[in-house]
């Protein structure tokens, strides 16, 4: 008996293979987008963890010198006083245009890192003499091997897979040569076993600051908001995919009512039927889910390099550009596919189990369920209000997302009611019987289409919202770059002395030389980068202040005031007039706040004389050069020749801007990719819904046809109806999208990155999107319309003969 029932159930899919394909595609899309995002997140997080383990990051307290590098002599003094510390020298190394990080550790004193242990336990351990003495050895990942092997003048290379990407690990003695920083130490780590009595730091090395392990910059924490963003997108795509599943399963159930009635009449219990249908759905969910995983894997593989690039650009987070299949996201993807399938078909299943054995096989009963649009709309309003309340009451990034989710879900729920009100208005003003029929027919179709339209609304709103955010950001960012990167040339000298020489050499030839000096301070709010600048009209005219007090620049150059970046201002709620304690001894009034989209950390600017007072050792190797733009290229070359500077040491403003924009674009590649995919999924949802409705169209169209409308007229009306509903939805999506954009710019961004962006509107983009929607709706309606055109009149006539 069971086998017979299974055969009967399966026969439906054989007869409706397009429907089966739709269902599987819907499931695969939902699962694929979701698991792609999960895979990307999992890969990135695994990269952070690996890096933290591989480099023993954040496991030890550290000693830093706020004024710059620590001299070797200081290390020896600490050691000879009993302090068990290990020296680390790190810095960037450019190899064939690619920026790599060199981590030089004292291989004698530093705790054995996994890469070192792995190498020692290998079949051919390297000779310590080679590791520690000139030329030394570089440990790096297999990925970097070809790059480094092609570069002459580097020490021999050893390969380890226990290292983060883009990292070269070596002994500190090799690193100081490679980085041209002889005798310098970036920081010291404090080893776990200290002798019983050692003199306090304040008496032996008062200039050093101890940074506890847990306060060190945690990549995972820093990038949390980025991943939350991605997850939210993944969830949105998943939800939209589920609309397709819902539509298809609903249709399949409706079409099988006759068969189910027959089966029940033959004596199959409802219980058995429900179980078998659930088993059938599970099989479909697993097949669709596996397809989705394959899709997600390739999608993630395609997107990950860009994600990795933006994570590196934004946070300096080491992320490998290669995806690997990890059980956690594969399992979560399958679980989501199963859960999603049952969520999407639960309602249909429930209604099926309640179906009276002799109820008519018509579709009307299935459809009328969605009619309580007023109640649904009320629920939508509650969701919107709830989201706003969550933000007002709790604040923070998660509350921000709750608000966005409430806004989106709530608006989607309100949509059917809103559309039906609009249609009533049109119907009232309609003239003539055909127009009236069209409007009322549209209203009648609304319940069946509403889910697809909701999906469309969400996709459109997300598109408008995210598009507005990205474009606003781009506009602001470009403007900010123009303000911020004012100097035509940026020069980095090899040493303070060379810096002086270069400044002297340049002085008679250029308009102004603007030294850029900075130190990293351990501040109560996290690491604080303190910059010093001189008095120059460039700053007075161009610096991007978003909030300032009176005579800001005069007070600043008096040495009585400080400027801070927006991130610090928002995080610590410090605004002009407030006091900032740069160090416990140095407190200054805040005169202004400037925008800063370059990094997520706190930053402050003081006058050069103040900087000398606060951090006397700050290096003076970098400066900006103001010169007529047409002379910049020649001067850059002259500088390189005169002082034998490497190419990267003299950067032209244009190149720097291009590089910054590149990082920016990569940051949003993934966002836009997901955006477009979501819209595609929504278009597909409309198609499936229209196909669903198709079977019930005949009884409604046949009488109209019988009254004299031709099939081609009816087909046109079909398309028109689909397009009209889509346009109405798009119009409603516009304010929702703008609200979303506002939430992203003013709430999510502030919480995630620490900056608030002005919102710009881009009506041309909306028109483009509207066009895209029209196209999607037309394409979706074209298939049923074409069927109608080719429908033999006999079929239409049959409606009147058919018992249903």
């Amino acid at each position: 008996m069971t086998l017979t029932v299974i055969q009967a159930l399966a026969s439906h899919w054989r007869a409706h293979s397009l429907q089966l394909a739709t269902l599987l595609i819907g499931l695969a899309l939902a699962t694929g987008l979701w698991s792609a995002v999960q895979a990307i997140n999992a890969e990135a997080r695994a990269s952070y963890d690996r890096a933290a383990d591989q480099l023993a990051l954040g496991r030890f307290d550290e000693l830093h010198n706020p004024a710059g590098p620590i001299p070797l002599s200081r290390y020896v003094e600490l050691r000879r006083a009993g302090w068990q510390v290990a020296a680390v020298l790190e810095g960037p190394l450019r190899v064939q245009g690619q920026a790599l990080r060199v981590l030089g550790v004292d291989m004698v004193a530093y705790p054995a890192l996994p890469a070192v242990t792995q190498m020692e336990q290998s079949g051919t351990p390297p000779d310590p003499a080679d590791m520690l003495t000139s030329p030394g050895r570089l440990l790096t990942t297999p990925v970097l091997e070809p790059l480094l092997a092609g570069q002459t003048g580097l020490p021999p290379i050893l390969i380890s897979d226990a290292l983060p990407p883009d990292l070269i690990l070596t002994d500190i003695g090799v690193a100081e040569t490679l980085l041209k920083k002889p005798g310098e130490i970036s920081h010291l780590i404090i080893l776990p076993d200290q002798p019983g009595s050692i003199p306090p730091l304040s008496t032996i090395a008062p200039e050093l600051e101890r940074v506890p392990a847990q306060e060190q910059l945690d990549t995972a924490q820093l990038t949390d908001s980025f991943h939350l963003n991605l997850s939210a997108f993944g969830l949105l795509s998943f939800a939209v995919g589920l609309f397709i599943v819902h539509g298809t399963v609903g249709l399949a159930f409706a079409q099988r009512r006759g068969m189910i009635r027959t089966l029940r009449a033959l004596g199959v219990s409802m219980r058995r039927l429900v179980w078998l249908i659930m088993a059938e759905l599970s099989v479909l969910a697993i097949v669709g889910g596996v397809l989705g995983l394959v899709l997600g894997f390739f999608l993630a593989g395609a997107l990950l390099p860009d994600v990795a690039a933006s994570l590196r650009g934004l946070y300096g987070a080491p992320v490998s550009g290669q995806i690997s299949l990890q059980p956690q996201w594969a399992l979560s993807g399958l679980a989501m596919a199963l859960g999603g399938t049952f969520l999407a078909s639960g309602h249909a299943l429930y209604r099926l189990s309640r179906m009276p054995i002799l109820s008519s096989a018509g579709l009307q009963a299935w459809r009328s369920a969605a009619s309580g649009s007023r109640v649904v709309a009320l629920a939508g309003v509650v969701a919107i209000v709830g989201g706003i309340l969550a933000l007002l009451l709790f604040g923070g990034l998660v509350a921000g997302f709750v608000m966005v989710a409430g806004l989106l879900v709530g608006s989607a729920l309100v949509l059917p009611y809103a559309l039906s009100r609009v249609l009533i208005l049109f119907q009232r003003s309609a003239k003539g019987p055909i127009a009236q029929w069209v409007w009322s027919d549209m209203r009648a179709q609304l319940p069946g289409l509403s889910l697809a339209l909701m999906a469309l609304l969400l996709a459109l709103a997300a598109n408008i919202g995210v598009g507005t955010m990205v474009s606003s950001f781009r506009l602001t960012f470009t403007g900010w770059l123009d303000q911020r990167l004012t100097s035509e040339l940026y020069v980095t000298a090899a040493s303070d002395q060379q810096g002086q020489d270069i400044a002297q050499w340049l002085n008679p030839q250029v308009d102004a030389i603007l030294p850029i000096r900075n130190v990293e301070l351990a501040h109560s709010s996290g690491p604080l980068f303190l910059y010093g600048i001189i008095d120059d009209k460039t700053y007075r005219e161009k610096w991007p202040l978003i909030s300032s007090s009176e005579r800001v620049w005069d007070r600043f150059h008096d040495g009585t005031a400080v400027l801070i970046n927006e991130q610090l201002a928002r995080r610590e709620n410090l605004w002009p007039g407030d006091i900032l304690a740069i160090t416990p001894a140095d407190t200054l009034t805040i005169a202004g706040v400037y925008s800063d989209y370059g990094n997520p950390t706190g930053q402050a600017i003081v006058s050069m004389s103040q900087l000398d007072q606060i951090a006397p050792g700050a290096e003076a190797r970098r400066f900006g050069v103001r010169v007529a733009p047409d002379r910049a290229t020649d001067l850059a070359q002259a500088l390189r020749d005169e002082f034998d500077l490497p190419r990267r040491a003299v950067v032209q403003q244009a190149a720097m801007k291009a590089q910054s924009m590149q990082v920016f674009e990569k940051t949003f590649v993934v966002t836009s990719a997901l955006n477009i995919l979501t819209l595609g999924v929504a278009g597909f949802a409309i198609l499936t819904s229209l196909l669903t409705l198709w079977t019930q169209r005949l009884p409604q169209i046949a009488p109209v046809w019988a009254l004299g409308l031709t099939r081609s007229e009816l087909a046109k009306l079909e398309v028109l109806r689909s397009v009209l509903l889509a346009v109405l939805t798009a119009l409603l999506a516009l304010p929702l999208g703008l609200a979303l954009a506002w939430a992203l710019l003013a709430v999510i961004n502030v919480e995630a990155f620490g900056w608030r962006l002005p919102m710009y509107l881009f009506p041309v983009d909306w028109v483009y999107l509207l066009g895209l929607t029209l196209l999607a709706a037309t394409v979706a309606a074209a298939l049923p319309a074409a069927r109608l055109l080719r429908l033999p009149p006999a079929d239409l006539l049959k409606v009147f003969a058919n018992e249903r």
Binding site: S73, G82, M107, T117, E120, P128, L132, D193, G196, S197
Partner: protein, 346 residues
């Protein structure tokens, strides 16, 4: 202390390698390094300082101490030098690796610590005049090695001691040329076994004032073990009658190699050739997951010596990068006294 041949240990600069190779790895070749030759004339004070062109070298001090209430203690202070290449340069790229080991042994517990550094940056090293051997804050220093202050610290112990020699330096083997195998491997080896020691041990239960006798070994070489030698048992014994004896056994696959120096109370020495001293383990104790002989019978018929040597505490295990047993011993039998025992390769 010849056989503190250690040094490859120091190859430990990059930890793990020596462990993988084991003590058998100590029989490496001396390529590029100077090799000890017979008829060497020691030059002092220069020879108290380092010899970077030899592969390995150490300043190895042990002392048997007693507190005022009569409890026995032992301390160890060792600075090893291991050269990756036979020269010295300034800065991080120095091929000279230094390793410090220190320990305090009480009748019921063994405290130890280890330090590593490279040469060239001033974190560790030895100067001959004024004499100073140091790594981090640990030091042995004075105008010359006969009068020194000695200090070391671990996480849970430390000591500050004054040492005053009241006898001459003594030379092992043929005037300080100490042969280590039948194949002729050898080292330069001299000692100062006549230190009077006083000072303070810092232990978790509080400071303990102590006095006693100390013994310094100075040795350098480039090719310390024969290829088939896998470990050694080394004794420095001070008898109550004022005589002393240094004796060792190198355990080889084919045969053992033994040697000893009898040191009279006035400092005159007699070299005792291979095969004369007999070593017989009497009792083993489970230490650090292995069986280590902690009671020995040592006999030397020509001196009517037939003694039992037993560890003050069996648990004197140095769980350092290269592990070994080093601790104070009590002597009974034909002679009585105290001393130090080192055992490697178990």
């Amino acid at each position: 202390m010849n056989v503190r041949i250690w040094l490859l240990i120091l190859l430990l600069a990059v930890p793990g390698i020596a462990r993988a190779q084991g003590y058998a790895g100590l029989g490496g070749s001396a390529e590029g390094f100077t090799v000890p030759q017979p008829d060497y004339t020691f030059q002092f004070p220069q020879d108290h300082g380092p010899h970077p062109d030899y592969r390995i070298e150490w300043w190895y001090l042990t002392a048997n101490l007693k507190s005022e209430d009569g409890r026995d203690y032992g301390i160890q202070w060792t600075l090893f030098r291991s050269a990756l290449k036979p020269h010295e340069v300034e800065g991080w790229q120095s091929p000279q690796i230094w390793m410090g080991h220190s320990a305090v042994t009480t009748p019921d517990k063994h405290y130890f610590a280890e330090r590593l550094s490279r040469g060239g940056i001033g974190q560790a090293g030895v100067t001959a005049t004024p004499f100073e051997a140091w790594i981090d804050e640990w030091h042995m220093r004075g105008s010359d090695p006969n009068t020194v202050s000695l200090s070391a610290n671990g996480a849970d112990f430390g000591y500050d001691l004054k040492l005053q020699a009241n006898g001459p330096f003594v030379f092992h083997g043929e005037n300080g040329y100490s042969v280590k195998s039948g194949d002729g491997q050898a080292s330069y080896y001299y000692s100062q076994p006549f230190y009077e020691v006083q000072g303070v041990l810092r232990l978790p239960d509080g400071d303990v004032a102590v006095t006693g006798q100390g013994w310094l070994d100075r040795e350098w070489s480039s090719q310390p073990l024969a290829a088939d030698q896998s470990g050694w048992d080394w004794f420095s014994l001070s008898f109550d009658d004022g005589d002393k004896m240094m004796a060792f056994r190198l355990r080889g696959e084919r045969s053992d190699f033994t040697a000893a120096t009898w040191i009279a109370a006035d400092g005159t020495t007699t070299a005792i050739p291979n095969g004369s001293v007999a070593f017989e383990p009497l009792t083993t104790a489970p230490v650090a997951g292995r069986d280590v002989p902690v009671q020995w019978r040592v006999t030397l018929p020509t001196r009517d010596l037939d003694i039992e040597v037993s560890a003050l505490t069996p648990d004197a295990w140095m769980a350092t990068r290269l592990e070994y047993w080093e601790g104070p011993v009590q002597i009974s039998g034909s002679h009585s006294g105290r001393g130090y025992l080192e055992m490697t390769g178990y």
